[in-house]
Symmetry: C2
Subunit: 252 residues, 2 copies
């Protein structure tokens, strides 16, 4: 029968909900391999494509992952907590309890580091940095990997005229990072804006982050302003949406 069950929900949604409940009940341990999709399809009495549709939803959610030629596995990755406003006084608030559990203290590996001067600047970056016609930018690009899993891509854009000759144009910007170097140049960042949105990944992002095409990414654009209100850096980050919890604390 292709009759939908009582609630009139499509099969793949019903099956996804059922599987989600099974996983959250803990029938499988993190890292465990699930039965193959053909076995599952037979168990649930649906075609394997329908089964895949349900599994795809859970994968988009980060609950399970698939390895081609191998099988489906229960995801065991603990999300990373990213503190957006790190400088505020340490909180004893509410005994530090948070809504979602996530790790704070792991530090990621960084690879795929490139520093280049670019003439072709994305329009939205050029506008925020208030670039003149044909002005070039210094682009610092890198990838963050946590426990062998790529979790974030980041690209910093700085006006080339501002940073030319400084260590910012080198792969290693020295102690304190590029913000310390900007301070040396008289443009210490004093204010930040972070803008967050969620999108589906591009083909390149799918490849570099090793995520499935149906997993969304968080785009976080951080603009740094110096004391005169000039935008001196735009850092555009692209995160695996299942890998992060973003955290902002502030006073009323």
């Amino acid at each position: 029968m292709s009759r939908e069950s009582s609630t009139n929900q499509p099969k793949y949604l019903r099956i996804a909900a059922e599987l989600r409940a099974i996983l959250e009940r803990g029938d499988y341990a993190p890292g465990d391999r699930l039965p193959g999709e053909n076995t599952l399809a037979a168990d649930f009495g649906v075609a394997s494509l329908t089964m895949r549709q349900a599994l795809g939803l859970l994968r988009g959610e980060g609950l399970v992952g698939s390895r081609k030629g191998s099988g489906w596995y229960v995801e065991d990755f603990r999300p990373i907590r990213r503190r957006g406003i790190p400088r505020l006084a340490r909180d004893q608030w509410g005994s530090g309890r948070t809504i979602w559990s996530a790790d704070d203290d792991r530090s990621p590996d960084v690879d795929q580091v490139t520093v280049t001067e670019e003439a072709a600047v994305p329009q939205h970056i050029a506008e925020v940095l208030d670039l003149a016609e044909n002005e070039t930018v210094c682009v610092r690009s890198r990838r963050y990997v946590m426990e062998n899993r790529p979790v974030m891509l980041a690209a910093s854009y700085l006006p080339q005229v501002l940073v030319a000759g400084s260590a910012i144009t080198e792969a290693n910007p020295g102690p304190g990072g590029i913000y310390a170097r900007l301070a040396d140049l008289g443009h210490a960042p004093t204010r930040f804006r972070e803008e967050i949105r969620v999108r589906m990944p591009s083909g390149e992002e799918v490849a570099r982050l090793s995520i499935p095409a149906d997993r969304s990414v968080i785009k976080l654009a951080r603009t740094a302003f110096d004391s005169e209100g000039r935008a001196v850096e735009v850092n555009e980050m692209t995160m695996d949406s299942a890998a992060y919890v973003l955290d902002y604390e502030f006073d009323a």
Copy 2:
């Protein structure tokens, strides 16, 4: 030929990228109807299911939408900008330029308002509010609709013992909202924590937000602390991820 094109990308990714480029070039105006999926499939030389897979990616992204029995349309919704830290001094920074364009000044309609006392409190809420065994909470639930499109669900949880007898337990909490009433009760919020993560929607969220099952949602949990560091409210929001740009500004 089912041979993949030069870059070895699957057809549906290549087609999605091609369509995305067409849309961003502006060949179709916002609100325009696209050719039907069978027509598109013939144009691109693929099966209609493959075409649907590509269209589904763009829909997850919020670029297009589909209406059953009618067709595919170019989405014309302008994202909403939500300022997370509204109280900081107005910014003249960078002439107020932002990375992504989004509207600031529309105000949404609110419906589906309920205020109830609940004994069954989700575990993660109970922990943050530091509830005793069997303690109940006041739950204020509502839905935000912008231009006839549901964009956010929100549910506030407050300890019932704290708010019993106050206007907080009524549908209309009076001028200044519940934060003013909390202040009246001697528990004015002085500090906030916002935690953000991205998930696939539940069946209920799909229904209440009228979003496709493959569109992710932003879960934003806002915890309010009073001057003694007590968590007095948790507001759990669920947003259509394509409808919002989140914005945080703060000093270094």
